[in-house]
């Protein structure tokens, strides 16, 4: 629906300041709201209306096995995926699983939104690797909380998907590269959000809001 399309061009070695969020929600009203919230926090937003469209956008064709699908789209840089849980067809949970199965995109933080505050659902999502869970209706404070993932903050270094990048776990935590860089620099998320390496790796760059 509101697809901006692929981010222009392959910019080798050039840093991009903007955080790019892929928002997935079948509700038009909710898409508009989340879009506004993210834009207020200076993010670039691509909003799609289904899990399938999200996978298409990421280059993960659903007919291919996700782990084998490269999913490399020239110039595409997604820093955060925020998705509704209850969607017809593919749920946010299904989408989360597909993303975590993808070698290209498993490092991207995925946040789930749901109108229903169901604890087993939340646990299931976190266990599957979701970074956070937002109960709808979504407010600015909910999205501001995602600042730890770079939303609303300034990112210094951006890398394009590159499988030769070293794993961050072998480099010091004070490494200034963005934890949201597309390179696989983040170890897989453990079940508990408190133990999440994303939360432990605090942004060293200044955030502004």
């Amino acid at each position: 629906m509101d697809c901006d399309g692929v981010v222009s061009g392959v910019r080798m070695g050039e840093a991009s300041e903007e955080v790019h969020v892929l928002a997935v929600d079948d509700s038009l009203v909710d898409r508009k709201v989340i879009e506004r919230l993210l834009k207020i926090l200076a993010c670039k937003v691509t909003a799609v209306d289904s899990g399938l469209r999200a996978l298409e956008y990421l280059g993960l064709d659903q007919h291919k096995i996700p782990s084998q699908s490269n999913g490399f789209v020239e110039g595409l840089k997604v820093d955060l995926i925020i998705t509704d849980y209850c969607m017809p067809g593919m749920t946010g949970y299904d989408l989360l699983k597909k993303i975590k199965e993808s070698s290209t995109f498993r490092e991207i933080p995925v946040v789930i939104m749901s109108s229903e505050n169901i604890l087993p659902r939340i646990d299931r999502c976190l266990e599957e690797g979701a970074e956070d869970f937002i109960v709808k209706p979504v407010k600015l404070s909910d999205v501001k909380r995602l600042k730890d993932y770079g939303v609303g903050g300034r990112i210094n270094k951006r890398k394009l998907p590159d499988t030769t990048e070293p794993d961050l776990s072998s480099s010091p935590p004070s490494d200034s590269s963005s934890l949201l860089s597309s390179s696989p620099s983040i170890s897989p998320s453990p079940p508990s959000i408190i133990d999440s390496p994303i939360r432990r790796l605090k942004m060293t760059t200044a955030t502004h809001d």
């Binding site: 038009l28 009203v29 709201v33």
Partner: protein, 151 residues
């Protein structure tokens, strides 16, 4: 000081909408998302809501016509979607009717569903008129601290 009168009217109208239980905190949250570049954000969202949800209302209406063979699952799914949007704009009373409707779906109460839906449509239409009046007044009053919280 002349501009304070319309502003007070806007605030009073908003207070009234809250006192009547028609709006909740989410509405204020949306108002706070307006800025100079997007001064009418809430109005745009509300307009979008009414436009977008009308098809859901029609679908539910259509599904309720089945009378004796109601598909409660389908009704519940449709209402879940409608409730979500209503919640996102802070339509408190409409949302409450949605919750009630879904309860009747869960217990397979056709009568309850139909009665609740009639009430829901009334609230939905009434809110629309009231918000239209509110937005019109707000636009006349000019940019202000629209996100002033009602008591």
């Amino acid at each position: 000081m002349e501009r304070s009168q319309p502003r007070r009217q806007v605030a009073a109208m908003k207070q009234s909408l809250f006192d009547q239980g028609l709006l909740d905190e989410q509405f204020i949250q949306l108002e706070e998302l307006s800025d100079d570049a997007n001064p009418n954000f809430v109005e745009e969202i509300v307009t979008l809501y009414y436009r977008d949800s009308s098809r859901l209302i029609s679908s539910i209406e259509q599904a309720l016509k089945e009378r004796h063979t109601l598909d409660f699952n389908k009704l519940d799914t449709l209402m879940h979607q409608f409730k979500g949007s209503s919640s996102s704009i802070g339509a408190k009373k409409v949302k409450a009717e949605c919750t009630l409707f879904r309860e009747y779906c869960r217990t397979g109460n056709a009568e309850g569903c139909m009665k609740t839906f009639q009430q829901l449509k009334k609230e939905y239409a009434s809110l629309r008129k009231k918000l239209e009046a509110y937005f019109q007044l707000a636009r006349q009053a000019g940019p202000m601290e629209t996100a002033c919280r009602p008591k």
